[in-house]
């Protein structure tokens, strides 16, 4: 009994205020509605009303509670429904806004770097370099022959060659084996060195260019032929592999 006398019964305004606070917090996204049992709140409120204010109730305060709690019920029940197309679009839009922010931060870094490089370019434009000697030339890794260079070469030759655009596979007499033999013979005639343009005669059909290219690839795979390209988009020089040392001596 002593304990009961010490208990202070909260006023109805206080309870309504706490529900209002809950309503505001849910609306601002500070509290997850999923984690709150609205049924418990309503039951507690009803028992409180029946026990303390059974004779006279301030309808204005109770009405506020009813509006707020019904709004919360509506929101909670909406959470159970699948998202509408509009909501999905809105969520995607919000996500992309975040992504765009990250993207801009990343992009801005490079933008400021562009400024630095442009300044350096401007300064360097007024300076003429006479020669260039690297101290660590020996440490440099020799540049490997890239297959991409071969692809570039065949592509540019095919573009330049305006002969038959339709490839006649059926009536073609040349094959890779014959072409490989031909190339090897040509190597012997031309001091074991050949360029791509030397292998292709005037008005050479596209099919033959492709066969020459495939034959060269086959010879490279067999280890009989290798190639070098002195500069980007420059002429590719093919040579018999065993004569690499001789070629080096010649270039020196």
């Amino acid at each position: 009994m002593q304990n009961n006398s010490n208990l202070t019964i909260p006023k109805i305004e206080q309870i309504s205020n706490s529900v209002q606070l809950l309503y505001l917090k849910v609306r601002n996204g500070e509290i997850e509605l999923n984690k709150i049992s609205l049924l418990n709140i309503i039951e507690d409120y009803l028992t409180y009303l029946l026990t303390t204010h059974s004779e006279s109730i301030n309808l204005e305060i109770v009405a506020n509670f009813l509006v707020e709690i019904s709004e919360l019920i509506l929101w909670k029940s909406n959470l159970l429904l699948p998202l509408s197309q509009k909501q999905i679009e809105e969520e995607i839009k919000n996500d992309t806004i975040f992504l765009k922010e990250d993207y801009w931060i990343e992009y801005k870094k490079y933008q400021s770097l562009v400024k630095i490089l442009a300044e350096k370019e401007f300064k360097q434009r007024e300076i003429y370099l006479t020669c260039f000697n690297s101290l660590n030339k020996d440490d440099e890794i020799p540049q490997e022959n890239s297959f991409s260079e071969l692809i570039f070469a065949i592509e540019s030759i095919l573009v330049r060659n305006n002969s038959k655009s339709i490839i006649d596979f059926e009536n073609n007499e040349v094959n890779i084996v014959i072409k490989m033999e031909e190339i090897e013979e040509n190597f012997l005639k031309n001091k074991n060195q050949l360029t791509f343009s030397q292998m292709i005669y005037k008005d050479c059909p596209k099919i033959e260019i492709i066969i020459i290219f495939l034959a060269l690839l086959q010879l490279i795979c067999q280890g009989k032929v290798d190639y070098i390209q002195s500069q980007n988009f420059g002429e590719i020089l093919f040579y018999r592999k065993e004569d690499k040392k001789l070629k080096k001596k010649n270039t020196q």
Partner: protein, 155 residues
């Protein structure tokens, strides 16, 4: 230079430094610039107009903003694929890359082992020479640039 002189690289560097100081003291029209991991004689910028007349034409490239942007991305992320560059730039880069390849600012250095095997690009010595850089590490770190951008936004 190491092979020709049969001296240590450090010794050569010291000699070059003393030459640099000497040229500066005597107010010579040229100086030695450390560029692209090596050294080169370079003319002073104040003589640019005269040297330009001597050569009769200005052969130096002036890169577009798009080209510099692409080079910056490659320099920081090399080896890098076209798709990775495009992801940062947000636009198609194939023509810019082709021009940079043609002019020797970048080179193809293998293929990435992912579906489609795209080409991997790297910057060349010409890139370093063009911007007067000793090496790629001569560029400011990206974190530093980010901090600088944040500071600028606050102010």
């Amino acid at each position: 230079m190491v092979n020709i002189t049969c001296r240590e690289a450090e010794e050569i560097k010291k000699a070059i430094k003393s030459l640099q100081e000497e040229y500066q003291l005597n107010n010579r029209p040229f100086f030695i610039q450390e560029v692209s991991g090596g050294f080169s004689f370079a003319t002073k910028p104040e003589y640019f107009t005269w040297i330009k007349k001597l050569y009769n034409n200005d052969k130096k490239y002036v890169l577009s903003r798009a080209s510099i942007e692409t080079l910056a991305i490659i320099a920081y992320n090399q080896p890098v694929t076209r798709m990775e560059i495009e992801k940062i730039r947000g636009v198609d880069c194939s023509s810019v890359l082709l021009n940079l390849l043609k002019n020797g600012f970048i080179k193809v250095k293998g293929r990435k082992k992912i579906p489609g095997n795209p080409f991997l690009y790297r910057v060349t010595e010409k890139f370093l020479l063009h911007f007067g850089l000793k090496s790629v590490s001569d560029l400011p770190p990206l974190e530093e640039l980010e901090m600088q951008n944040e500071k600028n936004e606050i102010t």
